[in-house]
């Protein structure tokens, strides 16, 4: 789960990371008032879950409160990578002598959190990694011991080779960032840029934290930071119904059990010349209610021309899925065709239920996908 910059900064501040003061606002008038309170130059920053905010015009400097109100009126309501800006962060501007990058990612290869630091801050770290890998220091951390003080100093010396005062300041921030990463069960925590001011102060100007979804159950405070306005409405509905759903641009609505099979089904739709409208995993349990919710969410998308079920019954009982289909379509008759493939646990019972209620079903995945793609294109079923 991604959280906003201002939320990530609150988490880092709680660990003691030095960050210029700021407040959030949802109207230009609020922005003006906050700018007045802060005094001097401020930065108005769009709070959306996407990179490239600066390039898109979502981050602007303002010299006066009036100017802050003006830039805020342009940023609020603008779209960045398809996401509408509802909130801005107004923060004191800092003078910058140099910029560095400091981040921690959970690395699959080493199976550890890995610190990545670079004196080339303020820009896309992936680009630095690709073009000038020598400008990045990577340090895997054994979470049983945590970040040790000498390791934090090593990272600091890589950023500021000839200034031990800055090294100590940076090392302290590394320790605080690591604490924040561990305490929030993060999969990513970064400060970009970490700046040095002309007077030699080391400050965090931007922050990003992604929280491991698996850990949200033990962090209700972090789960509460979720911003549902930053997500597609259908995805919020799906999560509340315990479904894993991702909206895509195609017209074949997919309902599948299991993440791997769901991806393989989308790929097969593409293979036969169609475009999937979504990823949807109804999971392993046998709850007909899930099928009802899945159908409701998928049919809300006006692009969807056909619904494709692909169920391989292992733990999932296919008769439960069949009952779910019958219940859902009785309550809300479908306006578009449905193609059902199911096989596995209780297949005979499921087929009987479907036939008695006027549905055809196949036990072959390729056959079902081909048929769904043909229907989506407006043709007759093969």
């Amino acid at each position: 789960m991604n959280i906003h910059e201002y939320q990530a900064k609150d988490i880092l501040r709680a660990q003691g990371v030095p960050i210029p003061p700021g407040e959030i606002a949802t109207t230009p008038e609020q922005v003006e008032a906050i700018a007045k309170k802060i005094g001097g130059m401020v930065v108005v920053k769009a709070q959306v879950h996407t990179g490239g905010r600066g390039k898109a015009g979502g981050v602007k400097l303002a010299k006066t409160p009036t100017e802050a109100r003006e830039v805020a009126s342009r940023i609020l309501g603008m779209k960045i990578n398809g996401l509408t800006v509802y909130t801005v962060l107004v923060t004191a501007a800092a003078d910058i002598a140099s910029e560095a990058y400091v981040g921690i990612i959970l690395d699959r290869a080493t199976k550890k959190p890995v610190f990545m630091v670079s004196p080339a801050g303020g820009i896309d770290i992936e680009e630095v990694a690709a073009k000038t890998p020598e400008k990045i220091l990577k340090l895997p951390i054994d979470t049983r011991y945590g970040l040790l003080p000498y390791q934090a100093m090593d990272l600091g010396f890589f950023l500021f080779p000839d200034d031990v005062k800055k090294v100590r300041a940076a090392a302290k921030i590394m320790m605080q960032l690591y604490q924040a990463f561990m305490k929030s069960d993060a999969s990513l925590a970064e400060i970009n840029p970490l700046v040095v001011t002309p007077s030699g102060e080391v400050l965090a100007l931007d922050a990003k934290i992604s929280v491991d979804d698996n850990a949200l159950d033990r962090h209700p405070d972090l789960a509460a930071l979720r911003d549902e306005t930053a997500e597609a409405k259908s995805e919020v509905e799906a999560r509340n119904a315990n479904l894993t759903f991702i909206k895509l641009d195609g017209n074949v609505g997919c309902v599948v059990n299991g993440a791997g099979l769901a991806m393989a089904t989308m790929d097969l739709v593409k293979y036969y010349g169609g475009e999937p409208a979504n990823f949807l995993d109804i999971g392993g349990s046998s709850n007909p209610e899930k099928v009802v919710n899945a159908l409701r969410i998928i049919t809300e998308d006006p692009n969807v021309k056909v619904i494709l079920f692909n169920i391989f019954g292992g733990i999932t009982r296919t008769d439960d899925v069949a009952n779910g289909i019958v219940t859902a379509t009785k309550a809300n008759p479908l306006k578009i065709p449905i193609v059902i493939r199911l096989t596995g646990t209780n297949e005979e019972i499921a087929m009987k239920i479907l036939q008695e209620n006027g549905f055809n079903a196949s036990s072959d995945m390729d056959e079902a996908v081909e048929k769904a793609v043909a229907l989506a294109k407006g043709g007759k079923a093969a």
Binding site: T143, D185, D212, A259, M263
Partner: protein
């Protein structure tokens, strides 16, 4: 022969009295797995289904039964502790079915298990099955048939799909292993490929990967450098958008890394067969055997 489990495997079930644990224990016993004990703290002394002794701790279970393998069905927040308890009690093969284990927990568990000399499969995996001999986990037994194809996959139901297609085509399996969909897991593709290469019964391997990480690319390099047996691969998620977690915690394209295209390229470069659809495994494996 087979890999990791066979008819001699003696199993304890951690979380045997829970909803999932009890359901799948019955299924495993029915399949012929030697379930010698279970563990649920506070229920020691009871018998599961009037047959399988339940213990309070894994240590007691191992001491009393001599089990060499454990399967874990406990809730996600307790899974890390359960895995470490099993390793500490001397279990050498630990299968963690639990989905939703916090990833940072695994950063402590992995080195712990390794130092104890144990192997962990999972978490967030369907387990494994050696058809006709033993199954540990949740893979439906009736879709499998004994034979000489090794199957290894990051997914559950996609594995069932491929195994079902192989069985229908008369191609049996030596062992089917689900390594799980999490970013940090105990056993990876290379571990399974090396085991299949060393297993005299296995003649060819079907491997199902998915987007995210570089495990498949590393596996392709291993195939090229160390495998004499043919390997056919498939990657799920060719139509997945970048930056989105596709159900499995590990199935995510980060930046430009972990795409299906780069994994398929790695398979081709290693001389592996590439299945475009699950059904393609049948012909591609036949051609190579």
């Amino acid at each position: 022969m087979s890999i990791f489990i066979d008819r001699h495997t003696t199993l304890i079930v951690q979380g045997i009295t829970g909803r999932d644990g009890s359901f799948h224990t019955k299924q495993m016993i029915e399949y012929g797995t030697r379930v010698v004990g279970g563990v649920t703290p506070g229920k020691g002394g009871q018998k599961f289904e009037n047959e399988v002794p339940v213990f309070n701790t894994v240590y007691q279970a191992v001491e009393q039964t001599g089990a060499n393998t454990s399967v874990i069905y406990v809730p996600p927040m307790f899974a890390a502790d359960a895995i470490m308890e099993a390793a500490d009690a001397g279990i050498k093969f630990i299968v963690a079915i639990t989905e939703g284990v916090p990833v940072l927990d695994m950063t402590r568990v992995y080195p712990f298990v390794k130092e104890k000399g144990a192997r962990l499969l999972g978490p967030n995996c369907p387990g494994l099955i050696t058809p006709g001999e033993s199954k540990v986990g949740i893979i439906p037994g009736r879709i499998c048939t004994p034979g000489n194809i090794g199957v290894v996959s990051r997914s559950g139901t996609l594995t069932y799909e491929v195994v079902y297609q192989l069985t229908r085509a008369g191609m049996g399996q030596s062992t089917c292993v689900g390594i799980g969909g999490d970013p940090i897991n105990g056993t990876n593709f290379i571990d399974c490929l090396a085991a299949f290469e060393a297993d005299p019964q296995t003649k060819a391997v079907a491997m199902m990967g998915e987007i995210g990480g570089t495990d498949e690319q590393d596996a392709a390099t291993f195939v090229k450098e160390h495998m004499t047996k043919p390997v056919v691969g498939f990657i799920a998620g060719q139509t997945a958008p970048p930056g989105r977690r596709m159900g499995h915690a590990g199935a995510i394209i980060s930046g430009s890394s972990g795409t299906a295209a780069e994994k398929i390229d790695a398979f081709r470069a290693a001389g592996m067969g590439v299945a475009k659809r699950p059904i393609d495994f049948v012909e591609l494996l036949k051609e190579r055997m």
